[in-house]
């Protein structure tokens, strides 16, 4: 279950609207924003796959100019990959040996 700290940059005139829209996206918490268009958000998702999907939703908002990452904690996910609980997706249709 990765946790990421993000700085979303929106056009300053729309920063309040964008912060509101971010709060509507699952797993996204807005911690603050400023008049320069900076929004500090945290994404706490089930997998990094889901996190990437949420980032894509943020990037798709029209006034959003960039999405920067400052911090990522993925210990749980790495533990699960190593223990076999979480298998890295194989989206290529290759048959796996049991």
């Amino acid at each position: 279950m990765p946790i990421g700290g993000f700085i979303v940059n929106a056009q300053p005139e729309f920063v309040s609207d964008v912060a509101g829209q971010l709060n509507l996206i699952d797993d996204v918490e807005v911690h603050g924003f400023d008049e320069s268009g900076n929004i500090v958000a945290v994404i706490d998702s089930v997998t990094s796959d889901v996190m990437e999907a949420q980032v894509k939703k943020i990037e798709a908002l029209e006034p959003v100019l960039t999405v920067g990452v400052a911090y990522l904690h993925a210990e749980d996910e790495i533990e699960k990959i190593e223990s076999g609980e979480l298998v890295i997706d194989n989206p290529f249709g290759r048959k796996k040996k049991n």
């Binding site: 700085i7 911690h31 400023d34 706490d44 400052a70 210990e75 290529f92």
Partner: protein, 800 residues
């Protein structure tokens, strides 16, 4: 994990992000530090573009568990992109190569062998080729992703040991024209300034670069500068395609592909016509040059050469949305701002006239004196993390030796031979094959053994099909070092598993002359080993096979050193202390100890440790900033252009006419085709394609088509289309978008699938000076073949 610990980690994530933008959050930081209980944070550099973002990897029980930016780093001030954040997944990826693999014939499956057997085979393969076909029948093809220590040691063994200059690397495909531009305009390779100019610039001229996707963290600085100073800072984006980068521009100049040379000559025309040039700067520091002999001419001759480029004439030639008044406005902004910064990338470099296009950007800066002062620079962006450091500086191309020395100069060859303690005359005087010639030589069976390190030419070369056929032939013995199977390992006899980033130690040199170290943090999986160990052991076996003690001498200083730290440090020391001494990339002060102590490394020249510890040279050629501007001074002027390529120590303004692309649209192939990157993927997707989060975001290539062209073709969004050129054809879905201008299509180039590999279509014509191919422009035709179709993402697998 307990709820409270998750909460603490979330607070830590929020506070870290907030600290980058100076935001105070109304949350407590009590116990936050305890929540992230890593054993150690290891500071290194991201490897997924050329910006050189610094990051720290949190390691717990020998595993990577967390990543964070380095806020003090002047490259990225803590920011990272998602692509960079997810690279840790490659370290534990199940498809990592873990054992040496071999097959005698290329239609056989690979089988696992020991390292000893693998290195024997590699030595025998190269030795047999040398004995049978001569020294120039062997070759090395490296990468701008190799560490400097790796590129340096490979080229040392090839040149000093195997006596061939057949040493190349994939930077030939991306940056060679920038090298040619810097050398011919400024007399020295690599930019004068660096990223720090962004925050001091008042006009930014972005041409041939979609930095919002290709260099997102650096783009953030450009965006911030504009948003914080909306009225004071002007941004001009010149590109045939509207891209995410265009969103912050005050002016978007959309020109017909290749006509940017006319556009820039027209800007120069306006600058002269309206007396906007810096007369004193020109008098003190510049001369005018023309032709192959670099003949000096006067300013009147330069002016006359621009007569063909009045804004009106150029606007007609450029087409697109460009008016004569736009050209005048752009020229005025460029010339009169307090500091103008130009930035470009592959749109300028990957061209049949790439060097000339680079010269024309530099011309504008020299004419207006927009150099060597705060906010002013002519900055070529780089795509790979170590194309500058390892390949341009470390001697990774066929015509250059370490320390920016030319192969063809005997005195410089002797300096290198003496430093290596090998007999003079050992390095041959003739440069080796450049990249396209090298793979043609494979096709022609002139090269019989080739080592490909950390790159995939079987996908990344233009007009790739015939070259791949050559690589697949059993007439060439091919060794690949890599971390994953690629389209190129499919052509190999021997695959050697390499350690990945943070699994070994070494230095990267990024866009702005900045060298940064990444130490080993975790063990490589299986039997994967650092390349420096692989080269050393191979060279020792090669010396026995060829009964040549000079080959052993090339690695003798490194024998017995452990491979994770001592060995790369010894190689770095030899390179920096012996081969950069008194060269323009003097790195003697940037020892491993110094580099480790710095948040963001050292910018050369940095001749002493004391100076390196200040961060090095922020602005080259400027007295007070660059120590060599004093030590190499020829007079008392504040700027000293001491670069090795210009005997007069001046900047050169070139008379360069507009020349079109090698292949222009015609009745048969009526459209321009250009290609480029998308934010989630990098190069051939051998890495990013294996991160499912990134693959899913863009599982396959698509082609952007202007809505007007789509209407003419009867193509709707998502339809499958065929793109065909004189060299080949591919199929991919269409994206109908106001991106490329009318008459042009734009395809993403990362896809490995045979049906969608756009490099089968691209042109392999190359610049006569830089030898860099014209990936960015060719002619094609496009036709609808069906409605939307379900496609399967494809990443190549071992044996199959």
């Amino acid at each position: 994990m307990s709820v409270s610990r998750r909460d603490f980690i979330k607070r830590s994530a929020a506070l870290t992000a907030a600290s980058y933008v100076g935001m105070n959050l109304p949350i407590s930081n009590v116990n936050v530090a305890k929540a992230v209980d890593v054993d150690t944070w290891v500071r290194g550099t991201c490897r997924l573009c050329g910006v050189g973002c610094r990051l720290e990897m949190g390691v717990k029980d020998g595993r990577p568990v967390a990543l964070r930016g380095v806020p003090e780093a002047r490259t990225n001030y803590g920011y990272l992109c998602m692509k960079g954040m997810l690279f840790y997944k490659l370290m534990r990826h199940p498809e990592r190569l873990k054992k040496p693999l071999y097959r005698e014939k290329k239609d056989q499956p690979f089988r696992e062998i020991s390292w000893d057997a693998a290195l024997d085979l590699a030595a025998k393969g190269f030795a047999e080729s040398v004995k049978k076909y001569g020294h120039d029948s062997v070759a090395y093809y490296g990468s701008g992703q190799c560490l400097t220590e790796e590129s340096y040691l490979f080229q040392k063994v090839m040149r000093g040991g195997l006596q061939t200059n057949n040493v190349e690397g994939n930077p030939r495909l991306c940056m060679a024209s920038a090298v040619g531009g810097y050398l011919t305009s400024f007399g020295a390779d690599e930019p004068i300034g660096g990223y720090a100019n962004v925050e001091r610039s008042y006009c930014m001229f972005i041409i041939g670069s979609n930095m919002a996707e290709a260099h997102p963290v650096f783009y953030r600085r450009v965006m911030r500068r504009k948003l914080d100073n909306p009225d004071k800072v002007k941004i001009i984006n010149a590109d045939p395609r509207i891209s995410p980068t265009s969103r912050i521009a005050d002016m978007h100049l959309q020109f017909r592909p290749g006509t940017d040379m006319a556009l820039m000559n027209a800007m120069a025309y306006v600058i002269i016509d309206e007396n906007l040039y810096d007369e004193k700067f020109l008098r003190d520091y510049a001369t005018f040059r023309v032709g192959k002999e670099s003949k000096e001419v006067d300013m009147e001759a330069y002016k006359a050469s621009l007569d063909e480029y009045t804004p009106e004439k150029a606007a007609r030639l450029c087409g697109g949305n460009i008016t004569a008044e736009d050209i005048r406005t752009a020229a005025r902004w460029f010339a009169t701002s307090q500091g103008t910064l130009s930035m470009w990338c592959m749109g300028i470099n990957q061209r049949k006239q790439g060097v000339w296009a680079n010269n024309l950007i530099h011309n504008l800066h020299i004419l207006t004196g927009q150099l060597c002062k705060p906010g002013a620079d002519s900055l070529s962006l780089t795509g790979q993390p170590n194309a500058c450091g390892g390949v341009r500086e470390g001697g990774g191309l066929c015509h250059i030796l370490p320390g920016h020395r030319l192969v063809k100069k005997g005195k410089l060859r002797n300096q290198v031979e003496d430093a290596w303690g090998i007999p003079r005359g050992r390095i041959p005087p003739k440069p080796g094959y450049h990249t396209m010639a090298m793979f043609q030589a494979v096709n022609d069976k002139k090269i019989r053994a080739i080592w490909i390190n950390c790159t995939s030419p079987a996908q990344s070369l233009p007009n790739v099909k015939p070259y791949r056929e050559g690589m697949k032939s059993d007439d060439v013995f091919m060794v690949c070092t890599d971390i994953f199977p690629t389209k190129t390992t499919e052509c190999a006899n021997l695959i050697l598993p390499a350690a990945f980033h943070f699994e070994k130690t070494g230095v990267y040199g990024c866009t702005e002359r900045r060298s940064q170290i990444t130490p080993k943090a975790v063990d490589a999986p299986g039997d994967a080993m650092p390349e420096v160990w692989i080269v050393r052991e191979w060279a020792l076996k090669l010396a026995k096979e060829l009964n040549d003690p000079v080959i052993a001498q090339c690695v003798a200083p490194f024998v017995g050193k452990e491979p994770d730290y001592e060995l790369p440090e010894a190689i770095w020391d030899e390179y920096t202390q012996k081969l950069t001494k008194h060269r323009d990339n003097d790195l003697r002060g940037a020892t491993y100890d110094v580099l480790k102590s710095m948040a963001d490394g050292v910018q050369w020249p940095a001749p002493t440790k004391e100076f390196a510890l200040t961060g090095g040279t922020v602005m080259k050629f400027v007295r007070g900033s660059d120590p060599m501007a004093d030590s190499e001074a020829k007079d008392d002027k504040p700027y000293q252009f001491y670069g090795p390529a210009h005997p007069d120590k001046k900047l050169w303004i070139w008379l360069r006419p507009y020349v079109g692309a090698a292949e222009e649209p015609d009745g048969e192939y009526p459209l321009y085709l250009s290609t480029g990157r998308i934010i989630d993927h990098w190069h051939t997707t051998s890495m990013t394609g294996r991160v499912p989060e990134l693959l899913r975001a863009n599982p396959y290539s698509f082609v952007e088509i202007n809505p007007k062209d789509a209407k003419k073709m009867g193509v709707r969004p998502g339809d499958m289309v065929e793109i065909e050129s004189r060299r080949g054809k591919v199929e991919m879905p269409a994206k109908v978008v106001e991106g490329p201008m009318e008459g042009m299509v734009f395809a993403y180039w990362h896809d490995m699938h045979e049906d969608r590999m756009i490099n089968k279509v691209c042109n392999d014509a190359y610049d006569p000076g830089s030898k860099e191919p014209e990936f960015k422009i060719c002619s094609c035709r496009v036709r609808r073949i069906s409605g939307p179709k379900a496609l399967t993402p494809y990443i190549t697998q071992l044996n199959g």
